[in-house]
């Protein structure tokens, strides 16, 4: 296990959630669940985050915000959609301004279902996200090595 998986920093964004999932996300950090045991930090800074935790469906007004937050995160990065709203639009999917799940705007790696998603399943989702993060990091390093050897050959 490399250090990437030992310190996943999370950026939490509420797209247009009913706040149910947000409360459950914060519950993960309370003494009962204490996600910081695994090195998880709930950071508000996209430039320092590894995992983008998005709750609620994406709407017309904030699609740009979601995309920008995603773009500001440095690689390797993973997106975890928390709650059925973030997965598919959920109960709000037929509203006039709702685009649908988070995957309508950014690539989602892990879907955590539930309304609201339980803290246990959120932590499970983060752990799955960490595995994906690890894969992406390994791929990134492989690419770096490739380009370096290509560079030395030319």
């Amino acid at each position: 296990m490399s250090c990437t998986s030992k310190s996943p920093w999370i950026l939490h964004y509420d797209a247009s959630s009913c706040n149910g999932c947000d409360i459950e996300v914060l519950a993960c950090l309370t003494p009962i669940y204490d996600a910081e045991r695994f090195g998880v930090i709930n950071t508000g800074d996209p430039k320092q985050a590894d995992i983008f935790l998005i709750t609620g469906a994406v709407n017309d007004q904030n699609k740009e915000v979601v995309r920008q937050l995603y773009d500001q995160m440095p690689e390797p990065k993973v997106v975890v959609a928390v709650g059925i709203c973030a997965c598919s639009g959920g109960i709000f999917r037929d509203c006039y301004n709702i685009l649908g799940g988070a995957d309508k705007v950014i690539p989602v790696d892990v879907y955590v279902p539930g309304c609201a998603a339980r803290p246990e399943s959120i932590i499970d989702g983060i752990v799955k996200g960490v595995a994906v993060l690890e894969e992406k990091r390994a791929k990134m390093e492989g690419e770096k090595r490739c380009s370096r050897s290509r560079g030395s050959r030319s």
């Binding site: 490399s2 204490d34 508000g44 590894d50």
Partner: protein, 295 residues
């Protein structure tokens, strides 16, 4: 003590301070978590964080920012090495400020308004603690003899023979007060809070990512160890007992800071500035006057 021994101390500082600082930061997070009824991350968590940051994609808003943060790290290391090599305390205070200035510049040169506000607040906080540090240097000079044979050099202060703590008690208490600002602990963490989900996100460090952010963390490790060294300096009597007492008190001081950090809400910069200056004036200048009267 010979020059070679002092040089050795400086080299030991450069080599071991990050290790000690990393463990200290880990213990800090562990104790904080326990105070909040949580289990907390492993003690080596800060090391995992920094290694992860180094593995991240390199992305920076401009190249100059990286250069400034590198300068910050460099000057903090130089300051610490000078302190442990027993050099002039005044010079140490000024190089420390120089390092600080580079951090502020790094924050200013990025376009983020959060970083700008953070930089502004960092300057206010520096204004609040700087007088106390200077007063401390002057008090050491008076303590070691003032006009007849007084010295600003850390090696002379440490080898003076008497502990400075009793005649300089006011200075010590004042230094403990501004230590909260220097360590960027709540209630004075207004320029850069520990976690980035507060009013100005991560303040000064908002635009730092990956390698740049890792550099800043390592600088903090160096800086914290040097500051604890300054706490220990009050207890040096030229023998090993002084070193032991100094180390114990430094650790206790750090635990006190963790407790303060967890127990207080953040204050406004006005309060920080006022309280910093009042403490410097009352405890610092009062102590200086007492030293002059005794002499």
């Amino acid at each position: 003590m010979s020059n070679w021994t002092l040089l050795l101390f400086a080299v030991i500082f450069v080599a071991l301070a990050p290790v000690a600082g990393c463990i200290l930061a880990g213990i800090d997070r562990k104790i904080s978590a326990r105070m909040q009824g949580r289990q907390g991350p492993p003690v080596m968590q800060p090391l995992y964080d920094v290694r992860k940051l180094l593995a991240k994609e390199r992305r920076t808003s401009n190249r100059v920012q990286d250069f400034y943060v590198a300068c910050y790290l460099f000057w903090i290391v130089v300051t610490g090495a000078m302190f442990f090599a027993g050099m002039d305390l005044l010079l140490i205070v000024f190089t420390l400020t120089l390092g600080e200035t580079f951090l502020v510049l790094a924050a200013y040169c990025s376009g983020s308004p959060f970083a700008q506000v953070g930089a502004q607040r960092e300057i206010y906080v520096a204004m609040a603690y700087e007088p106390m540090i200077l007063i401390m240097a002057v008090a050491y000079y008076l303590f070691t003899g003032g006009e007849d044979g007084g010295s600003f050099a850390v090696r002379d202060i440490a080898g003076f023979g008497d502990m400075a703590i009793l005649p300089m008690l006011g200075i010590f208490l004042g230094f403990l007060f501004i230590l909260t600002m220097k360590l960027r602990k709540s209630p004075f963490d207004l320029s850069m809070s520990h976690h980035a989900h507060q009013d100005i996100v991560r303040g000064v460090a908002t635009e730092f990512s990956g390698r740049t952010y890792a550099m800043m963390e390592v600088s903090h490790w160096y800086e914290n160890i040097m500051l604890l060294g300054m706490v220990a300096l009050f207890f040096q009597n030229g023998e090993w007992t002084g070193v032991v007492i100094g180390a114990v008190v430094a650790v206790l001081a750090y635990i006190l800071e963790i407790w303060i950090d967890n127990g207080f809400a953040r204050m406004k910069w006005q309060t920080a500035l006022k309280s910093g200056w009042i403490v410097s004036l009352v405890l610092g200048m009062g102590n200086i006057i007492a030293l002059l009267v005794i002499a």
